[in-house]
Symmetry: C2
Subunit: 435 residues, 2 copies
């Protein structure tokens, strides 16, 4: 792990210390994804079968998961895992229900009622990757808010294994959250199928979920096309930033850093501390714990580019964290709430010694689909609002129009929009004629 | 105006009846904007001056509006217009304040506290077009929620007139809403300047506002670049759909149709009614009122491709409207609230005879930056939430971890993420050792 002293770095080196792995939309990637999208649009299900054989190395006969496959998945699953999926879903639902937007009604002037009503996005597509391992938790994180929003058609795509089946836990999580249809599709072809529709896959209005560079590029392409679909957010590799003081338990800090590092070789892991001694101890602990992990080789690659950074104070740690805008931010300090107000940008925050990041990944109730790669500066994680539209409604009585009509007419005149003005003044004249 | 009978059309003709003008991202437009963006990134302010001279046909010496220019604008403005700007700002603030997201805190299990906190997006860029006329109302619609969200730096770009000055009402509206800095810039170059920063223009995290095809293309390009900026939404030409019953006043309906048609030759105007007689009367009224408009030639072009469509019922009108997903939806029917629950997709809705669309454009309190071009199926209009990030926070006590730790460990094991599991189990072991 790279050891740095923030205050010994010049501005360029500080920039470098917080640099993320390059994610430029390489021309090759762009063209590759364009070709896949075009092929799916032109050939539909035929293209999906061909691309699945090529990229997921699996032969799928029926693209859609059948009732029998759902039943077989449920029968095959350990009762303990089924119970954990249900428990997590219930807690995710509890938090997401409470934080869902509410309808609003305001009288902004006498006789002028302005409201906000909520409507589900009708058809949504969820993407659950299955790169190195199945991710039932992602099915929960997308399926629960889609269900709470009341989306009419919830479609989920996840690549099949080599045996042509989807992971049993993913199917069970989809079933528990009320996902309507699941398709054995992965990569850019899954995104294209949900954005444009094929014979089997319905066309969706908005697409959600993490994925690799191909999936992310496909999401960007379809979201830039008026005939495509909206997306939740751009995405990059997962990342964590930990702020720890001298009293933090190095064993806990190391475990949190490693639980991020095991995600993939391009995962980002940063520790900021004003305590040199803690940095020393964490470095030792990370090495010790890492050696015992089944995914030690992945974690080691991620750690090779990770950083332990000495700062002069917790306040400086907060400033550096805000500059980085981490997806996950862990505050392993004695008084984490004292730092919270100073945090400008992060996807999700974990306070204190007993809140490992993994509880947020699975079942504290918050969402784990979060902005990565600095997008936390401007994006929020997925929530019920992501699956809804907020529509404004206004209703004026005759008195309401009398109250705000003149203001409207004055502004319309300033903008040289005479028909806008007249839509008001001819009504006011009609009211006067009737009076 | 084209007259159609919905139930006499075959599916292809129905599709055609609701088709919008083509907005494909033509290769030529894309390349042109790419060149402008690249030039601004490479040459900064020099490029901005050159491009302003070329595209806005104005020579700007200082790019930023000065204190003196603000003062001169305020002095030049009619008191009645200043008062209208202030009145509109107050009403927009009243509705936006009430509909802003609230912090949330939920105990999802004993000892498991999950919260949502709100943070402003630090630096935001507002774009106010000035194509055929100045748009102070757009400065209000963007500046008010930015101010309520508490954004640290609010930047506004609007093209200068040929005399090198910005419109006085736009400057006054910017001042009233607390915009921090205004730059005399338009088009793709304004978007590039705010996304990447130049010597004069600060780099912004998120960009907002309507614009022409060049502005829209530039927003799409910078939002697809991790080094660029987020955007509010894609945009197309403005549009209205009116549902009117046989009792609607044809004079009012015609005035509303025209107030949309005068926006631009590519504006969309659709009227749905189950009453043949009303369609007749509106057609006559539109022609009569249009002739008296200063922008009659623009409105006439828009009307040439607009449609009066006979439907068999109000229920069918709602179904057709949902399929179109209009930016503005006017319900000029006797009982508009009876239709409201059936509306799935619209940007903003106007109920009854005394609610012309123009009140929403200026001062009912709702926002007029709304999803066009069918994006109302998946996007919402601008609100305070558009200028904020929602960050989740979790804090577990030792008991909290005991409560949800086992569920976390089970799910981590199912996903083969052993370090995630151990981050929990080694804490639980430490708790047991201490007990």
């Amino acid at each position: 792990m790279k050891r740095l002293d923030w205050n010994a770095l010049d501005p360029a080196a500080q920039l470098q210390a917080l640099a993320r792995p390059a994610q430029s939309r390489a021309e090759e990637l762009r063209r590759g994804v364009e070709a896949i999208v075009a092929k799916v649009r032109a050939e539909g299900d035929t293209a999906l079968r061909e691309l699945s054989a090529k990229y997921d190395r699996c032969a799928i006969d029926a693209i859609e998961v059948t009732v029998e496959e759902f039943a077989a998945a449920e029968a095959a699953l350990a009762p303990e895992l089924k119970a954990a999926i249900e428990e997590a879903a219930a807690r995710i639902a509890a938090f997401h229900r409470e934080s869902a937007p509410r309808p609003v009604a305001v009288e902004t002037a006498p006789g002028v009622r302005v409201e906000r009503v909520l409507r589900p996005i009708a058809k949504v597509g969820l993407y659950v990757p299955a790169g190195s391992a199945p991710l039932p938790s992602t099915a929960l994180m997308l399926g629960v808010p889609a269900g709470l929003a009341g989306c009419r058609e919830v479609v989920l795509c996840s690549p099949a294994r080599a045996d042509g089946r989807c992971d049993e836990a993913v199917l069970y999580a989809a079933r528990v959250t009320g996902v309507h249809r699941v398709f054995k599709l992965g990569g850019a072809q899954a995104i294209a199928a949900m954005a444009y529709g094929t014979g089997s896959v319905p066309r969706c209005d908005k697409l959600f979920g993490p994925g690799n560079a191909w999936v992310t590029e496909a999401k960007l392409q379809v979201s830039g096309d008026p005939d495509g679909a909206a997306i939740d957010m751009p995405a990059g590799p997962s990342e964590v930033l930990v702020i720890a003081d001298g009293k933090a338990d190095p064993e806990f800090v190391a475990a949190d850093l490693l639980s991020q590092a095991e995600h993939g070789p391009d995962s980002q892991v940063i520790l900021l501390s004003p305590s040199d001694a803690l940095l020393d101890r964490v470095a030792v602990e990370v090495e010790r714990q890492c050696a015992a992990l089944p995914r030690a080789s992945i974690a080691t690659q991620a750690l090779a580019q990770s950083r332990l950074i000495l700062v002069d104070s917790l306040a400086q740690a907060v400033a550096v964290s805000n500059r980085y805008a981490p997806e996950h931010l862990i505050l392993q300090v004695t008084e984490p709430r004292a730092l919270l107000d100073g945090i400008d940008s992060a996807g999700s925050i974990f306070l204190g010694a007993w809140t490992p990041e993994s509880v947020g990944d699975y079942c504290s109730g918050s969402n784990h689909v979060l902005p990565t790669y600095g997008y936390a500066r401007s994006y929020s994680g997925v929530s019920v609002a992501s699956f809804q539209k907020q529509i404004t409604v206004q209703e004026l009585s005759a008195d309401g129009l009398r109250a705000i009509g003149p203001c409207t007419a004055t502004l319309a005149e300033a903008e040289q929009l005479e028909a806008h003005r007249r839509a008001v003044t001819l009504r006011l004249a009609a009211l006067e004629a009737r009076a």
